[in-house]
């Protein structure tokens, strides 16, 4: 039920774009991270059968990518970053057309196109020509054409690009929905790590064509380190002094927050006491875990801008 790559390699002459990738994309969502030019687009091209593999293999639900290349594209869906439309067609016309091109019979395509258009939130708009669509609508119909044929592997490239905050949230919810209800492996390529964190269970970080890091997001972020990120409102000095007197270490974290590192065998009660004793409001207290961004920056390094 997944997408398995073994020593997947793509070379353009001397240039190795993808270097012996051996990874598995299980059912559900996997984030694909990496700097621009790290090999993401070559990976997609290879899995779509658009460029030949220099070596290695890939199977999607048991079907070999190097075999019948056209057949592979019937089980893959691709939502590109750039806007794309079939000019002159209505929304329903375009999604139906896409379905038929993937091999669906006409009646199946019409019925499924309507279903999918409801899912992405294009109601009456589906009867209008796609040339007139707003950017949010264009994003939705891009998703619709990618899933109309119920692919086994779905590539989403910056799916929230250009959408306003409400649209972004709806799109991320949609992706969650598809991920949990469909029998699909979703690969979400995005630079907005918070989006990846909210929709994916796993990530793969690619750098220079190789896998730099891979695993469940929770595991990569690491476990709680004995520190808490705290926000208070009131007499900061009194609060900090109390904590220090109990052996805590304090580090500022931006303008409003501070990180409190508890001594061993201490619990959060000490923070509560500090708040009570100094008469401040305790507005926030959460265990400090790395964010996915921290993981990324650590792994790839701040000065690795060879591939902008």
């Amino acid at each position: 039920m997944s997408v398995i790559l073994k020593n997947f390699t793509i070379k353009y002459g001397d240039l190795t774009a993808v270097d012996h990738l051996s990874i598995t994309f299980p059912q559900g969502s996997t984030g694909l991270l990496g700097a621009n030019g790290a090999g993401k687009s070559s990976l997609i091209k290879g899995l779509l059968g658009l460029v030949p593999l220099s070596s290695g293999s890939a199977t999607i639900m048991g079907r070999d990518v190097t075999g019948e290349q056209k057949a592979i594209r019937q089980v893959v869906g691709y939502m590109p970053e750039d806007d794309c439309l079939i000019p002159g067609l209505t929304g329903i016309g375009m999604v139906q057309y896409a379905g038929e091109l993937s091999g669906m019979a006409k009646e199946d395509a019409i019925q499924r196109a309507h279903e999918v258009l409801f899912l992405v939130g294009l109601g009456e708009a589906r009867y209008r020509k796609v040339d007139s669509y707003s950017s949010g609508m264009k994003q939705r119909i891009k998703l619709a054409q990618a899933i109309v044929h119920d692919p086994k592997l779905l590539f989403l490239d910056e799916p929230t690009s250009g959408m306003d905050p409400r649209g972004r949230r709806e799109m991320l919810d949609l992706i969650q929905n598809i991920s949990s209800k469909g029998k699909i492996s979703i690969i979400l390529a995005s630079h907005i790590l918070a989006d990846v964190e909210s929709t994916c269970e796993r990530v793969i970080i690619i750098h220079n064509g190789k896998v730099a890091e891979e695993g469940k997001i929770d595991e990569l972020r690491g476990s709680y380190s004995g520190a808490y990120t705290v926000r208070i409102d009131g007499n900061r000095k009194k609060f900090i002094d109390f904590l220090k007197s109990r052996g805590c270490e304090i580090r500022p974290n931006g303008k409003h927050l501070m990180d409190v590192i508890l001594p061993e065998k201490s619990e959060t009660a000490v923070i509560l006491e500090a708040a009570k004793k100094s008469g401040v409001q305790l507005r926030r207290m959460v265990p400090s875990i790395q964010t996915l961004e921290d993981v990324f920056v650590k792994r790839i390094g701040v000065n690795q801008n060879a591939n902008l």
Binding site: P165, H191, V286, P287
Partner: protein, 305 residues
């Protein structure tokens, strides 16, 4: 220097772009937010001197903006659109634009060099823009906006297309500019990134001003939505019972599976003051505590209909 907007309106024939806006922007970073079609683009065009107001005043540093080259020279603009001369190299692009500002050749070269270095795009400066990736195009656009060291910067989706490292460094850069006393206006839909840059926002919808100021203060003013506070602890039922004794707690949502509870309080200051006391008195261990709707995303959600 301040930006003063007084009764500003702009319409195109019958279509309204912005309607009777009144606000001031001072030094530091300010976020410009609003749904698509809200009027942000019109407002930015007005502020960068590309459009003439239909009504009202737009003043920067005591001078009106329209057709005012003295003021326009102090503005740097990084647009969202990708309209480039693809055959120019990165260097040529920034250099020619800064020459147009009137700087002599040597100084223009120096400034170009500096801007390109700041935006970390030296390695690609001699390649043609047509070959740039999206992130690189973004960096060269920014370089062009900052090269003449303007006092005012308008950045429209400045992080668009940048990879996570680029995003982080650019956010730091934007904060730096704010700290240097420049007026930096950032328009973006990615709210959690705006939050990293600033507390100050201007929220627009349907061409009108919805909110202006500090995020937390704005949140405070939204009394239709009492503040939510989520607490994860070991004795959920006990803590819930204790908290409910107080009148300001309007509702409680109980989540046994995750050992957490979420209350809504219409007097958050008092609530947060008494919470540590109650927890300590009842011997409840609090594992974590936060407000799920005291962030920009929630503020946006509550205000934009």
């Amino acid at each position: 220097m301040n930006i003063e907007v007084k009764n500003l309106s702009k319409w195109y024939g019958q279509v309204i772009g912005v309607n009777n806006l009144n606000f001031n922007i001072g030094p530091g970073v300010t976020g410009f937010l609003g749904p698509n079609g809200a009027g942000k683009t019109t407002l930015i065009r007005l502020l960068t001197g590309q459009l003439k107001p239909s009504k009202g005043e737009l003043i920067i540093g005591n001078e009106p903006v329209w057709n005012n080259h003295r003021i326009l020279r102090q503005i740097g603009y990084c647009p969202e659109m990708d309209a480039f001369w693809n055959y120019l190299t990165g260097w040529e692009f920034v250099f020619s634009l800064i020459r147009m500002h009137g700087f002599p050749r040597d100084e223009a070269e120096e400034r170009t060099r500096k801007a390109i270095k700041t935006m970390d795009i030296e390695k690609a400066q001699d390649k043609r823009i047509g070959s740039y990736s999206k992130g690189m195009r973004q960096r060269i656009k920014m370089a062009q906006a900052i090269a003449h060291e303007p006092a005012i910067l308008f950045l429209d989706e400045p992080l668009n297309g940048m990879d996570p490292l680029g995003r982080r460094t650019t956010i730091e850069l934007i904060k730096d500019f704010g700290n240097q006393g420049k007026i930096v206006i950032v328009s973006s839909h990615v709210l959690h990134e705006v939050e990293k840059m600033t507390d100050k926002i201007i929220l627009i919808n349907h061409g009108r001003l919805l909110a202006e100021g500090n995020i937390y203060e704005i949140r405070r003013l939204i009394d239709t939505h009492p503040l939510q506070v989520t607490i994860r602890c070991d004795k959920v039922t006990l803590l819930t019972a204790k908290l409910m004794e107080y009148e300001d707690v309007q509702s409680v949502h109980f989540d046994r599976e995750n050992n957490q509870l979420t209350v809504e309080t219409n007097r958050p200051d008092e609530f947060h003051l008494r919470l540590p006391k109650i927890a300590l008195e009842s011997d409840v261990k609090i594992y974590s505590l936060w407000s799920p709707d005291e962030n920009l995303e929630a503020v946006f959600d509550y205000l934009v209909r």
